[in-house]
């Protein structure tokens, strides 16, 4: 469960995020949709505690990101914008490192790693060094290590960026599966179709502000448009960044 209330952040004179509010309930997929540079990643970075909000609050399962960052970190699994791996370590070693940082150990940790390897269909690359992996393979490792502690809230920053058609499909299946498990999934995308296909709720962000918020159905009604694409264009006020 993620609750964001009036969140603001600026870098110098640039107001990256202004008064953003939304909530992402458990068992649902919430999409942050917006053109490049709209403030999606900055919002996410404040949620996963790496940037400090200048105004407003953000809570994960009731814990404030500024007041109790460690409690928040324990409850989130994050695929950040930067998703670099340790190239001299194998997939398994990359995942194990994060598991140990979350205090997991021994058989419990190894079992969890094995089940993630199966879930993400990556047993064949489990014990290979990650140097030379394809974008899709690297992404799988990055997701597995983010979920190694079985978090309730999952934040994905542009998870399908740079993936081929098959990998994108697999990724979407995976996100739907997380919803079935009752997780709170929040992901950002600039691809409207993707958000439309997956999300229970869409938060449209443009120029650092929330310009529309609701289910796909509600968005169409709010903007008075036939299709979601038109609704999106109406909400952000331009066709910029449509994918």
């Amino acid at each position: 469960m993620i609750q964001v209330q009036g969140l603001s952040k600026s870098f110098g004179k640039v107001k990256a995020v202004q008064e953003v509010s939304f909530s992402a309930p458990d068992g649902e997929i919430t999409g942050l949709l917006g053109p490049n540079g709209a403030g999606k990643s900055t919002t996410l970075r404040m949620l996963y505690t790496l940037l400090k909000p200048e105004g407003g609050t953000a809570k994960v399962d009731g814990f404030d990101v500024t007041e109790s960052p460690v409690e928040v970190q324990k409850r989130i699994g994050v695929l950040a914008d930067a998703r670099g791996l340790y190239l001299r370590l194998t997939s398994r070693e990359n995942i194990r490192y994060y598991g140990r940082l979350h205090g997991l150990e021994g058989e419990q940790l190894e079992k969890q790693i094995d089940s993630l390897l199966v879930l993400l269909d990556m047993q064949h690359i489990a014990d290979r060094k990650t140097e030379g992996f394809s974008t899709g393979e690297k992404l799988k490792v990055a997701i597995a290590r983010a979920l190694v502690h079985n978090p309730k809230n999952i934040l994905l920053d542009e998870p399908t960026n740079g993936l081929d058609v098959m990998s994108t499909r697999a990724m979407r299946q995976f996100v739907l599966r997380l919803r079935e498990e009752g997780k709170c999934v929040l992901f950002t995308s600039h691809i409207m179709q993707e958000v439309a296909a997956l999300c229970n709720q869409i938060v449209i962000i443009a120029k650092g502000k929330v310009s529309a918020n609701g289910t796909p159905e509600e968005l169409r009604k709010q903007t008075g448009k036939e299709t979601l694409e038109d609704a999106f264009v109406a909400a952000i006020g331009s066709e910029e960044g449509l994918g």
């Binding site: 790496l50 940037l51 409690e71 994050v78 950040a80 670099g84 791996l85 490192y97 994060y98 940082l101």
Partner: protein
């Protein structure tokens, strides 16, 4: 706290797999002792050559001054026939110094006038200086000898000529010259420590940022101080191994080379000295890792970091280099400066001078305290947003 260990283990595993990087580092380590050994052999040979070998002097116009030649030969000078182009031979470095006796030498000499001879040499050639001095001296002593004879013939006391006599009492021995040279040794040791730690640190800090693995790492529930401390600690084994290899290399060079024969001194480089130097250097390992962690964390790329770090080690090791020419007494204030104090102490060990335990303690304490402050600043850097945004 346990996370320090997790980070330490991961960095060790990661860096040990980077075989090429640390192998290259270890090859560099041999460079110091080999260079040092080569310099000792060269220095030793110059000592020997200049003092023991007779002076070879090509002379043009031997026939004009048979008596002078006879005198030179008596003074253990080997007279050689001069090559056709004397000056060219000197410029080319084939001859250190040569003598030209002009045709009118005999005339002037017999007439009792000042007879001119010419010495041809290149004063910028370091290796020739000893020979040049010897040639000048031996000709001047002939001149004095004849002058004394002439005065005596005229019934004048030769003492009239020497109003003041300079008696030289040079306290420098070949040993102390060699010791000046030995003062450069701490420089090699300290740079080795810095160089041993830097690839590991660059990879764990700037490299982590460049790869884009820092941001996900920091989302894990752990204090940023543990991240910094874990990374810093993981560089230490590499720095310590580098230190041991360098000390071992120097010990081997001093063992293999006949130092006593070459330089006429004994260097205190036995096992117990070696161990003491190792212990003195441990605080340097700390400061080398701390300061390089701090600086490499500011750098955005590994390339940027690898341009900064060599300067750090150079700046810290350089004052010790100056010790070779401007000896500093081991006073209290010198011990407060990290790496400087240790360099003085290492020198004292090598010269087998009495060492104050207090100085060792103070230098270690000062270095450790300053390292702790630097570590604290690095932690603060990691706690800020700059480490994420790069702004």
């Amino acid at each position: 706290m346990k996370n320090i260990l997790v980070i330490f283990q991961k960095e060790m595993l990661d860096n040990l797999r980077d075989t090429r990087s640390w192998m290259t580092g270890f090859f560099w380590l041999l460079f110091g002792p080999l260079l040092f050994g080569g310099m000792i052999v060269m220095l030793g040979n110059t000592f020997k050559e200049s003092t023991e070998k007779p002076l070879s002097l090509p002379v043009l116009g031997v026939e004009h001054a048979p008596n002078l030649i006879k005198f030179l030969e008596q003074q253990n000078v080997i007279i050689l026939p001069a090559p056709a182009d004397l000056q060219a031979a000197v410029i080319a470095g084939d001859i250190n110094v040569a003598l030209i006796i002009p045709e009118n030498y005999g005339e002037d000499f017999s007439a009792g006038e000042t007879a001119a001879v010419q010495l041809v040499f290149d004063s910028t050639r370091q290796s020739a200086i000893v020979d040049i001095e010897r040639a000048k001296n031996v000709i001047q002593s002939y001149s004095r000898y004849i002058g004394v004879l002439r005065l005596s013939l005229r019934g004048v006391s030769p003492e009239v000529m020497s109003v003041i006599q300079i008696e030289e009492m040079d306290t420098a021995t070949p040993q102390s010259q060699a010791l000046i040279f030995l003062s450069m040794l701490p420089y090699f040791i300290i740079s080795a420590i810095f160089n041993g730690a830097s690839p590991v640190i660059i990879d764990a800090t700037a490299g982590e940022r460049e790869r884009g693995s820092l941001e996900p790492l920091l989302i894990n529930p752990l204090s940023r101080s543990w991240v910094v401390i874990g990374k810093l600690l993981s560089a230490m084994p590499f720095a310590i191994i580098t230190l041991l290899i360098t000390l071992g290399g120097f010990a081997a060079v001093f063992q293999i080379l006949p130092i006593e024969e070459l330089l006429g001194i004994q260097i205190g480089f036995n096992l117990s000295t070696l161990f003491s130097i190792f212990l003195i250097c441990l605080p340097i390992v700390f400061i080398a890792c701390a300061i390089q962690t701090l600086i490499a964390s500011y750098a955005k790329t590994t390339k940027e970091a690898s341009t900064y770090l060599p300067f750090v080690s150079l700046i810290l090791a350089l004052p010790g280099m100056a010790l070779a020419f401007l000896p500093v007494k081991p006073e209290l204030w010198t011990m407060l400066i990290p790496t400087f104090g240790q360099q003085i102490l290492i020198n004292q060990f090598l010269r087998a001078e009495p060492i104050s335990g207090m100085n060792i303690f103070i230098s270690a304490l000062a270095t450790i305290l300053i390292s702790l402050v630097i570590t604290f600043i690095a932690v603060k850097l990691y706690e800020g947003e700059r480490i994420i945004t790069g702004k």
